[in-house]
Structure formats: C-alpha cells, structure tokens
Amino acid sequence: MTAEANVELIGGYPEYMRESIEKVAATRPQRLKDGPLAAMSAAAREQLLRECHPDYKADKKRDVRVGPAAGERMPHEVVDLLEAYPAIDPKQIDLSSPDFDVSVLIIGGGGAASVAALFAREAGVPAAEILMVTKLRHGDCNSIMAQGGIQAADRENDSPAVHYLDVLGGGHYTNNPELVRALVLDGPKMIEWHEQLGVLYDKVGGDYLEAHGGGTSRKRMHSAKDYTGMELMRVLRDEARNLEIPVLEFAPAVELLLDKEGSAAGAVLMNLETEEYIVVRARATVLATGGFGRLHIQGFPTTNHYGATADGLVLAYRVGARLIDMDSVQYHPTGVAYPAAILGQLATEKLRNQGAEPVNADGRAFVYPLEPRDVEAAAIIKECYGNDRGVTTPSGIRGVWLDTPMIDEVHGRGTLKKRLAAMWMMWHRHDIDITVDPVLVFPTLHYQNGGVEIDAAARTGIPGLFACGEVAGGVHGKNRLMGNSLLDYNVFGRRAGLSAAEWSTSHRPGQLSLRHADAYAKGLKKAGIERTRRAPMILPDYRREAVRARRIEVR
C-alpha cells in the first residue's frame, strides 16, 4: 500500500514503467492502422474461460449445507454468509406494534428501488403508503457508479430479437429466456420514460450517440458522458423527492418478516446510528438491495459501493427463496491496477467502446477489445500470469495497458475529455493524463450475475416478496453484458413496483412472525455449524487489524 510513496514519478508513473509506456506509444500508429484483433471463436472463448477465469477455480467454492440451495456450489464468501446465524434474536423483537405500517415496503436505495417506488406510485399507491428503506443514503449504490451506458434496441438496423440473441450468447445460454425477453422488449419504453423525466442522454444532431459494448452486435449503448448511472440515479431520486415518497436512510433490513400463512409481511430494520430495531409491516415487500462486491470474492478488489454486502441474498434465503447462478461472478476486465490509491475502481468499458485497446508490456495487442466481460477478463489474467507479459506496479500488482490515447486518435482531439469526463478526472487527480499516456488495468470484482430467482413479474417464490436489480438472478445468466444492468434495474424495478402495488391492493398481512429465523438457526445447528458468524454483514470492516485487536468493548 505504501510502496509507491518514495518512487519518483514522471507524468504520474514511476520511471521504470515509462519504458513500457514508450513501447505502447511506439506501436500505436501501426495498431491504429491495423485495427483491433478479430473476436475469438466460441470454442476459443470457452477454452480461455476454463483456463483462466476465476469462476473455474474449484477450490474457491463449496457446497451450501442448509436452506433451499443445500448442495449447490457457491463462492466461500457467499456460503459463509448463508451459513451464518441471524443478526437478531427473534425473542428480543416486539412485533406487536409495528413502527411503520405501509402498503409497499421497498428495501434498498439504489436504481432498482427508486424505479420500483416510482412505479408503485404510478400504479396508484399513495406516496405515504410507500416506504423506501436503505442502508446508507438514497442513491448510495452501484447504479450511480455505472459509467458506460444502457442498452436498448431502438435503431433501424437493430431489433429486440437481435438484442435477445446478444444477451443469451453473452450469458452462455444460461439466462432465463422469459426474463431476457422482458429485458429487451421493455428497453425502448424505459429510455422513453427517462426522456420524459428529463434524463440528458448524449445526442448528436438530435439523435442518440449509440456505441457498441462488449458482446453486442449492434450499437445500442445510450450514454450520458461517462456519468450515465449518475445522471439516471440523480433524476430518479429527484423525481422520488418531488413525489414525496418517504425514505428511511441508514436503516438496513436485518430480517424479513412473514405472516402465519408464509407471505412476506415487511421487515425488521436496524437504525445504524442508534442501533435500535425498527419493525415495518407491509402488504408487499420489494427486495432491491443490490449485489455482493464488498465480499471481495477470491480476494479481488471491487468497483462496488460500500454497502454491497449481499444482505438481500441472506434475507431472501432465510425465508426460503431460491437463489440461482450463484456460482458465477462478474470480474470487470478493466479495474484500476495503478495507482494503488484507487486500486480496483472502474475503468469503464466505454474506454474500449470508444477505441482504447488492451496491450501488453511490449505494446502488443493480445485480445479483441470488446469480448464479453468474462472472456476479456480471462484474456487479461492470462496475459499477466500465463504469458507473463504484464507490467508489475510498485505494490506488486500486475496489469496490462489500456491504450486510452487511441480514443482521440480515432475520434479527434477533445473527444476523450468530453465523452469520458469522469475517467479523465479520476486519473488527473493522480497526475496521469490519459489522453497522453495509457492506463494500467486488471480485472476487478464487479457484479453479482446470479441472485434471487424471479419471474417476469419480478415475483420470487415467496408470496408478496418481489425482487429486482442486482439482487435478482436469471436475467444475465452466468455473464452480464455492459449496459444491461442499468436496463435490468429499470425494467425489473418497474415490474416489481407494479406487481407489488397490485399485490398490495388485495392482500393484508396476518400476524407477523420471525419463526423462519428460528427455524433457520435450528437448521444451521443441526448441520453442525458453529455460532461464530452472524449475517447480514451490513458493512465491511476496513479498520486496520492492529486497531481492531486493541479495541475495548464497554457495555
């Protein structure tokens, strides 16, 4: 972490890295002339994945021993949370007089949650009958960090059917076709909705500026500079505020509630600041808690926000919901490898869709720049560790170059700063001018491909419980394409909001119960799992070990 401290830097890079940067610059004119390498065949992709993708390391996973997915393989970090005891003691929770009693409870504060709230309102649920609860602030989420764009098949040479094929192929045909169908058919409608809300998509001459993403066969990536996720999130949040939808911040759910019939009936929350519990009774409950990047699966750094700790998976699992595709994890091919201060943060795929090419320490291209993410990530890992042609940073991290100066060479000077303002700023803060020098990248933990199983109406198997966004699985199968997560949270956020609203008109929860939490704990005990871990995790703990070891607990 401190190895870079004493190194003399030139244009943000240590002198020894300059040698390789010069090789990249020297090969650039020829590479620009030649164009990118060809995309790999299906067979070559599969072999590369088996050889180098972290998902294929058998010792990094184990079978879950309890719950509806018992016997299924998942990363150790996920199993650790599923094989953990409830954070609350059900006996200590008074369910007799709920603090909130609402029609629709939405757990989460990101994109999916906001869209669900807006459409629950649209469907006629009064604002005061909706409650959004979130661990951090409204908008502290992965959605706000999405840079590259959102896919929607709206151009004449494109069609939802072409989009459908791209999504299924990218997901290795493991996606739930019913969900993919909803995703692609709702795409244009969601973009139109955004326009009506005043989202500022990039346009040239009155038409969208649309680009490719990894694994797309048509240009259908709509963007708002490289702040696409932020532009969307701040508009959705602004609209939720206009409609006065109540939001409880710093109040994560720690357990779902069921009624005696087994329908979802709300949740127990924790006020993070006072540490008291809060009981919410709800006719319908929407789970929109996001993903699991902060579990740092296989020790990878992550692009994810501070609260991405898989809480929703744990909560849903304990009430009996099914999880799918939890054996696969998305590593974004290009996380920051240098400087160490921003290690693992996202170098958006938009850099590649605008012309930047991955090259090795010798300045040679080694992969088609827009392979599906798992393939591109595996190729970079192979170049660094299989072929040993990466660049090692002062802190011992290996990476390859992403040749960002190519962007202005292809599209004209000034393009990068205009279309990739956030990226320019991120490295500029560390004295690196990415219009002049390439950037060093290595895969970073990015997305939870799998999750809670849903149908096209965003229903889970539990009556009254709906799920949408990253917490839900099936849409992307075992690999998501760029630009389909923003689309996913809009399409399924809307469907969850509408479904929850409808359900809430005809269902009234019976007596609240936490028996499932007791039953789950008994199941853990029966499986011989010791009471050493509790979940949900809520937040990661990054305090240094030496401080934690000396902590005094005063009670």
Binding site: T2, D154, S159, L165, L200, G229, R544
Partner: protein, 233 residues
C-alpha cells in the same frame, strides 16, 4: 527522523500517522474509523464523502472527496457528510421552462454576490458560480452543460454566503432542459410502438424455441455492425 512511509494527519484535530500515498478515506480506516456516514460509492460518484481540510501552514480551506484525495503531511481534516439544504418540490410536466422558472423556485439565486466561493469549493472542478449566473439569466442549456458533472455533495451550498442551494438549482435546470431542450428521437417512439403492437413477439418466440445448438449457430452467425465514419466526428 520521520518515517517517509508514514504521513501525519489530523482527523478533527487529533494526530494519526497513516501510510503515505493513500486516500483520506483509506487513511481514516487505517486510523481505526469505521464509517457509517461519510462513505458511499468509494469511487467519486456519490458525493457522500465531502471533506474539508487545511494543509500545514496554509490559510486556505480546501475541499475534496475523501475517496479520491490523497493524504498530505500536516493535513487537518473534517468530514461534512450531510448538507441541510432544502429543495423545492416541483411537477416537471407543469413547469413552463421560461427564463424565470428557476428564480421562481429558488429566489435566493438573485442574492449571488459573485464571490466564486462555490466554484472554489467544488471537488469536481465545476464552474459553479458561472452556472448560477446562467440560472439567473434563465439559460437552462448552459446550466445543464456546466453542471453536468455535479455529484451533489453539497459543499457549494455549505459555503455560500447567499445560502444558495446550487446543486438543487442545477438538478431542476438539467431536467427541465432535458424535457424542453431536445425532442425525443422519432425512431425511439416508433420502436416502442412496434413492440407494443407485438411486432417482435414471434421472432423472439422462435428464438426461445430453438435448441441449444441451433441457438449457438444463430449467435455465431450474427453480423457485427462496423464503425462508420459519422462516428468519427
């Protein structure tokens, strides 16, 4: 002699030695802080970690995002994770995007004394004062353009002597510009209408019915759209 690998900083006045070359956020965690407030996306997009600091020997207050700014020797810092700044509720569809609309909802923008403190306090290097001046003139397009990179951390509003809530003004201006500044491309609505009429249902049904091998063959046979000249503006 001081260890060059370590840097002394002051978190709310208290001294801590933290590793040289890390961000303020990482330094605070190294020191033993566990964030509830003051940490969000940890990548410079959410505005949760607004931080003010003074460097050793400097009279000036500086502004940063804790997740993006590196520690410097002698830095005295405090976090401002929340800005009490009321926003005006509005119904977007009912607004008339004329030159007075922002002034009507945020009359305090007329109190701007052009001191430029807002601009100096922006961790995103936005020309905040310039967009407030554009807001005064009712130039929505200019406000939208200048404020686009705003992450709504609230540091501008915290510092403004005229109590302007800059980022709320800008949010309203961008949305108004979005609905009034450029029409929705016609092919979008056309495609949506086609989809609504079921024009693609059969094709997708057919794809769904294909077996694995046939689907793979269809995927492999896709024509990949090439870059065109117009892309190279």
């Amino acid at each position: 002699m001081a260890d060059p690998k370590m840097t002394r900083i002051y978190i709310m006045g208290k001294a801590y030695d933290v590793p040289t070359g890390v961000t303020i956020m990482d330094a605070m965690e190294y020191a033993g802080y566990r964030f509830i407030r003051g940490a969000g996306c940890r990548s410079g997009f959410c505005g949760a970690c607004g931080t003010v600091y003074r460097k050793a020997g400097e009279y000036r207050l500086e502004f940063a995002l804790a997740c993006q700014e590196m520690v410097q020797p002698g830095m005295q810092l405090a976090q401002l994770p929340f800005t009490p700044a009321p926003r005006a509720a509005y119904a977007l569809g009912e607004l008339n995007p004329d030159e007075n609309v922002l002034l009507q909802y945020y009359p305090e923008i007329a109190r701007c004394v052009a001191c430029n403190t807002c601009t100096k306090s922006c961790p995103q290097d936005i020309e905040v004062m310039d967009y407030i001046q554009a807001a005064l003139r009712g130039d929505l397009a200019r406000v939208a353009e200048l404020s686009f990179d705003c992450i709504q951390c609230g540091l501008c509003a915290m510092r403004c002597p005229a109590d302007i809530k800059h980022y709320h003004v800008a949010q309203m201006a961008r949305r108004l510009h979005g609905v009034s500044g450029s029409p929705i491309p016609a092919h979008l609505a056309a495609r949506r209408a086609e989809i609504d009429s079921g024009a693609y249902d059969r094709e997708i049904d057919e794809l769904t019915a294909l077996d694995h091998d046939a689907l793979r063959a269809r995927y492999a046979a896709r024509q990949i759209e090439k870059d065109s000249e117009e892309e190279r503006l």
